[in-house]
């Protein structure tokens, strides 16, 4: 970001656009991994805890990238977004709806993050209730990308955004299908015979 700042307003703008696009991909991956954690889906050679931990790790990466995206957008002196618009939706004088959707996604994802960090204090039920907000945060972020993003004419940007939407939609559909079947979670894979004396 220092290099972008050194490059001036345009550098911050490019960095904000680039980080926003990558952030959408990362956010989509986090959602897919979250669904996989819940449904017990995992690559054959991956234990489940690794999928859950990867979901958590990528979430923290997303927070860092989100900070970069927001800071570069705010610090870009050409457009006036304002610090208040980082937490209050639809108050930005610049592209109110598009920026407001992004702020809404930040607020919802922030609630999910904070409650996840305080999961043990809150309890499982409250944590899960707030975690459902992730299913609202992702569409808000996606609509923000569509409306505030200015690069849909670029084929690979369109491909990235379409791919993100398809991945998340597939994950959500898989989860809904699993719930509709009503079956139990698949059993934990047992890597081998139980050690002696640990029945």
């Amino acid at each position: 970001m220092i290099m972008a700042a050194a490059a001036g307003s345009a550098g911050l703008w490019y960095l904000s656009r680039g980080s926003g696009l990558v952030l959408l991909m990362l956010f989509s991956a986090v959602v897919v991994l979250g669904v996989a954690t819940r449904t017990g889906s995992a690559p054959s050679r991956w234990p489940r805890f690794a999928v859950a931990e990867l979901h958590r790790t990528l979430s923290l990466f997303a927070v860092a990238l989100l900070l970069l995206h927001v800071l570069t957008a705010i610090l870009d002196p050409f457009v006036t977004i304002g610090w208040a618009a980082t937490v209050l939706p639809f108050v930005s004088p610049y592209r109110t709806l598009a920026i407001g959707l992004g702020t809404l996604a930040v607020d919802l994802a922030g609630a999910v993050l904070v409650t996840s960090l305080a999961r043990r204090r809150l309890g499982q039920r409250a944590w899960r209730a707030v975690h459902w907000l992730a299913y609202l945060a992702w569409p808000a972020a996606f609509l923000h990308a569509l409306t505030a993003g200015s690069d849909l004419g670029v084929w690979w940007v369109a491909l990235v955004e379409t791919g993100s939407a398809v991945a998340v939609a597939a994950a959500v559909l898989a989860r809904l299908a699993g719930r509709a079947r009503g079956g139990p979670r698949p059993p934990r894979p047992v890597p081998g015979p139980a050690p002696a004396g640990t029945s």
């Binding site: 972008a4 307003s9 345009a10 550098g11 703008w13 490019y14 960095l15 656009r17 680039g18 980080s19 696009l21 990558v22 991909m25 990362l26 050679r45 991956w46 234990p47 805890f49 690794a50 931990e53 990867l54 790790t57 990528l58 990466f61 990238l65 970069l68 870009d76 050409f78 457009v79 004088p93 043990r120 200015s150 690069d151 004419g153 670029v154 890597p191 081998g192 015979p193 139980a194 050690p195 002696a196 004396g197 640990t198």
Partner: protein
């Protein structure tokens, strides 16, 4: 993420393998599965972090490279897009036209005396005026 060094409160460790099983190998699958998971996780995390940095750099670099120059060539006036096609396609400062907007008064002129853009207060001591055309407000002034 210390998976090996310390337990987290509320978590229950998998039962340790009996040292007596070391020779027979009965306790190895648990340790191997756990170690494999940690190794997969660390590898995926590291690669993801590297990919994020590379992705942001590549995307930002691409946007910087493909953005058209800020100033139009001499003799060309910037045309605002027609109404309904007013999507901003880049940074307002560097990426070409924006839709006519009263909040961003920018006037460009190719030197022909014709300026295109939202201009307010055009009245002066010379003959001047404004008119709307194609979604843009055109201001002119007779010298």
């Amino acid at each position: 993420m210390n998976f090996d060094e310390q337990d987290r409160p509320g978590w229950v460790r998998l039962p340790p393998a009996d040292p007596a099983d070391e020779d027979t190998g009965a306790g190895r699958p648990y340790r191997a599965s756990r170690a494999d998971g940690v190794r997969h996780l660390r590898r995926a995390s590291n690669w993801t972090a590297a990919a994020l940095v590379a992705g942001v750099a590549a995307a930002s670099g691409y946007f910087a490279h493909q953005t058209p120059p800020a100033a139009p060539a001499a003799g060309q006036a910037v045309q605002a897009p027609p109404a309904g096609q007013g999507q901003v396609t880049g940074h307002p400062a560097v990426a070409g036209p924006r839709p006519a907007s009263g909040s961003a008064p920018v006037v460009t002129s190719g030197g022909s005396g014709v300026a295109v853009g939202p201009v307010t207060g055009a009245a002066g001591n010379t003959a001047s005026g404004t008119r709307a055309a194609g979604g843009a407000t055109i201001a002119w002034r007779d010298s």
